[in-house]
């Protein structure tokens, strides 16, 4: 009796994860679609004007979507080289002592709450970027100065935030390359660096790719770190423009929105959710392929 009951309870616990995913998906669709119908899919997704509180409200989020996509892509482009090379250091070059030191640093980087990244972004990155902005646009009266809270600052903060993901997963996949690959390559006369870049990294390609995909997922979903750093008005994602990401668009207006405006914010949530699901599907597809190849 107890045995049967225990088994049933455990099945229930395991089922809960599926129920949660179904419930979240269902609720995002239920909450996100009414506005799509009311405003029109093309008007929301491809409109460029966002004026939720005017007499004739418009809810175009094209710039928001572009900001998220381009910002994520840039953060990953900046992060991958640094992340890959640091992972190479951790897995192939560092002595045990230096490995431990850098590893703890990366762990701390991963553990620091995202609001603290936001805080440091405001105090450290924004003023520095503002200096550059001042220098570039000194003689341009048409430029709207952002005080450093702009697209570049947000991308830099995002890059910093995805580094731990990139480093940790890449390191794991480099470590899983069998030792005899390295010894064979060295025995053939290749140098250590040649071995790393021509043998170890190509062998670990799958794992490195999944690190990149996970980094994309993290960057596109990050909210609190970039909420105060991105400037928070809706513009094309140009380097020195004040911008809004999908995540910050939701967070910055949710507290006071109502009616159709609020529903549109849920639609933005749905768009973000669709992006994340695509990232997840790509990732699980890659993992499956990796298994089949072994």
């Amino acid at each position: 009796m107890i045995e049967k009951g225990a088994a049933a309870i455990f099945v229930g616990c395991a089922l809960l994860s599926i129920i949660a995913v179904v419930a979240i998906t269902a609720y995002m669709i239920i909450a996100g679609t009414p506005a799509l119908k009311q405003v029109g899919i093309t008007d929301i997704l491809f409109g460029t004007i966002w004026s939720p509180s005017s007499a004739n409200p418009q809810f175009g989020i094209l710039y928001v979507i572009l900001t998220s996509i381009i910002g994520t892509a840039l953060a990953v482009l900046l992060g991958v080289p640094v992340g890959l090379l640091s992972a190479v250091f951790l897995s192939e070059i560092a002595s045990e002592k230096w490995r431990k030191i850098l590893k703890s640093a990366v762990e701390l980087l991963a553990g620091i709450p995202s609001v603290i990244y936001g805080l440091l972004g405001i105090i450290l990155i924004c003023p520095a970027v503002y200096q550059i902005e001042l220098a570039i646009y000194k003689n341009d009266p048409t430029h709207q100065f952002t005080g450093g809270a702009n697209f570049i600052s947000a991308v830099l903060v995002l890059t910093l935030m995805i580094l731990p993901t990139l480093i940790n997963i890449t390191e794991t996949s480099l470590k899983s390359v069998p030792m005899h690959y390295r010894t064979s390559s060295l025995a053939l006369g290749a140098t250590k660096i040649q071995t790393i870049f021509k043998v170890v990294i190509p062998t670990a390609k799958k794992g490195i790719m999944s690190a990149v995909v996970l980094g994309v997922g993290r960057a596109i979903g990050e909210t609190m770190a970039i909420l105060s750093v991105a400037g928070n008005s809706i513009n094309l994602p140009l380097p020195f423009a004040s911008v809004r990401f999908l995540t910050t668009a939701i967070a910055s207006e949710m507290s006071y929105s109502e009616g159709l405006h609020r529903q549109v914010l849920f639609t933005i949530g749905l768009v973000l959710f669709v992006f994340i699901m695509i990232v997840n599907l790509v990732l699980s597809h890659m993992m499956k392929q990796g298994e089949n190849n072994e």
Binding site: I24, L119, G217, L272
Partner: protein, 285 residues
Amino acid sequence: MNSLYNKKVRYRDEVLKALIYLSSLLVFALVLMMIVFILVKALPYLNLAFFTTAKSTLKGTDGILSNMINTIYVIVVTLLIACPIGIGGAIYLSEYAKNQKFVEIISFALEVLSGIPSIIYGLFGMIFFGEKLGLGYSILNGSLTLSLMILPILTRNAQLALSNVPQSYREAARGIGAQKWYMIRTVLLPSAIPGILTGIILAMGRIVAESAVLIFTAGAGYFMPSSILGHILKSGGTLTVRLYFEMNNANYSAAFMIALLLVVVVLGMNALAKWIARRFDVNGG
């Protein structure tokens, strides 16, 4: 030129090596700079009253005691909800599951859950637990939502810990006539405790660091609890949420003091997780 004694210098090797060292140095320097900066900005303002009083216009105090208490509330309630479910799910996956397809679906669901960004959890918590179930902005709402978020960490770590228990333990227990649940309870779970604990500490780290979920679900309440259990149904802002609002009001000295406290907590948890791993798992299982 190219002999054992006079090796050829490969410029590409040297450049790549320099880049590797430079990247690692950059990562290390960034972390160091962040910590030093937080220390420099927070230390001059540190005072005991900040940590021992709550924010109150009536008393004229502006401390974070209530936020610290809220954080502990959120951690405890979330773990109380999520641990049984996570460990139960792990027991199923590692000991009971026979249908491979079903296991794959559950693993995929866990993967999806760990990939969902916190703001989506926040929205879901707000409309489901908050509006549908009528919990409003409350610590319970925040904890229920966070439970979903940390479920993958708990389940994966527990599953890994269980699968690291040697098969011979199971055979020995079944061999002397133990039934399955009895064996799990008396043999497997005790051996898997360090791994499960590691998962719990990692989950605690996630909870302490979380803010986007909690702003939408637990709100930003800063009152001291008036009753121990009743507080669960009240709105309660954690340390990260308070930090966010102090930052928005350009009250940077308070923001940096909270940041310092959070960094210390995160460092402590990392150290604890490592200590457990070393203490109980000397040769990697």
